[in-house]
Amino acid sequence: MHPIDDNHSNKEDVLNAETDDLIADDIWEDDAVNPDALTLNIDGWEGPLDVLLVLARNQKVDLRQISILELVRQYLKFIDDARSLKLELAADYLVMAAWLTYLKSGLLLPKDPEIDPSPEELALRLQLRLERLNAMREAGARLMARDRIGRDIFMRGAPEGLRIEKSRKYHCSYFELIQAYGQVSARTQPVMHMVKKRAVMTLEDALNRVSKMIGHSVEWTNIEVFLPTILVSEDDDYSTMLRRSALASTFMASLELARNGVLELEQKDSFEPLMIRSVANKAS
């Protein structure tokens, strides 16, 4: 009437048999205190799980075979003793006591399938936790017992030391240097606004020129013929600019001379060559 799985069923038998199996390591023997003495110093414990583990190990069996019921009994006694001594107990100790009381009743009472998780499952869980904590405790002891650097094993006492001295080398190419200077110069020259002396033919010059030339021109003649000849062949900036200025001035001069009845202009169509001829000639 007490359905317990194989892991648990023999627990009490095993306990009663009081096997002499000792837990392998003796590092922690100091902690294997008489349970009755546990009450003397509450501060020495790392929480209820710690107390439980020490109690469990005092059963002197493999942790997989501890009696959870016995463990509960011991823990509750520990708490009672502490209380009777009026020792301050941290809340988590009391919570654990309450929980274990509940677990104990669950394990003792006929199995109630409605209870989930089952008391056996809770007991197993507690046992697994104790096993894990115990494993780490033993591992810690073994770790600390190893031959350790600075205690058992030594590195070289007075190493010369290694040093990589980083020397920074800067990279800059000749091109970058020159380019940078070019840009500094360009960027920082004082900005000067200067009215440039432009290449121009004044209206006055054009009037003189056209007036002089028109006398010889009896037929319709392209206005460009009246421009200074040097400008026609040359193709540099200066000539181009002067040529445009001369063309404009010559055109203006032509208009002025036409107004005065000296010449007449004709253009067959937009953008066609502008033709001029002397009025005097036409009249003759």
Partner: protein
């Protein structure tokens, strides 16, 4: 067989170094033309059985006194003794279970760990944080360091005392996982009390 001049160079570099060096660190000193790994191997062999030995801890190499001579050289240092039981346990949990979060350490120890505990271990350079666990709260997770391996004379975490057994017996698996597995397994073995489903059926 590595060139003798290369061996000498690697040997001198390791010997002079104040801390363990990786193969690539050594290469920085001795030059690229040296086959550092071959030289290390030759040196390791040469020192075999001497009072000094060449060892690899994690990915770093250093010379140290032979372990069996500890009895001659042993010094009790206060610093090494100071580690509390709580600190030792915490360190072991990080070593054996790492990477672990603080909450995971606490769940194994059954108590909260004090605020300064991890700081102390980090200050000793035995643990370091290794990012965050991608779970709600994104807790920091911790692992042991190369310095830890060096200090305790471990080639790697696989070398931790008893870790094979602990793994084999599932003692490094979280309780929840073991419980799940146990109850899934037992579901196949007829009715077993562990299996709440079959229990329910029985009634």
């Amino acid at each position: 067989m590595a060139d003798m001049e290369h061996i000498r160079a690697v040997e001198a570099t390791l010997f002079a170094s104040e801390e363990p060096l990786r193969s690539k660190d050594i290469a920085q000193y001795v030059g690229d033309e040296v086959d550092v790994d071959a030289a290390l191997k030759a040196i390791e062999e040469h020192y075999h059985g001497r009072g000094i030995e060449l060892v690899k801890r994690g990915d770093r190499w250093h010379f140290q006194t032979a372990a069996d001579l500890a009895y001659l050289l042993r010094r009790e240092s206060d610093e090494l003794r100071k580690l509390s039981r709580a600190a030792i346990e915490t360190l072991s949990i990080i070593a054996y279970h790492g990477p672990v979060s603080r909450a995971e350490i606490e769940s194994i120890r059954g108590v909260q760990i004090s605020k300064g505990m991890l700081d102390v271990l980090m200050q000793a350079e035995w643990i370091k944080s290794a990012g965050r666990r991608e779970v709600p709260g994104r807790p920091l997770i911790y692992v042991v360091t190369n310095e830890f391996l060096t200090h305790f004379g471990l080639s790697s975490r696989k070398d931790l005392p008893g870790i094979k057994d602990l793994k084999a017996t599932g003692l490094l698996d979280p309780v929840d996982m073991v419980m799940n597995e146990m109850f899934t397994e037992t579901a196949e073995d007829e009715e077993n009390i562990g299996d709440s489903d079959s229990e329910a059926d029985d009634v």
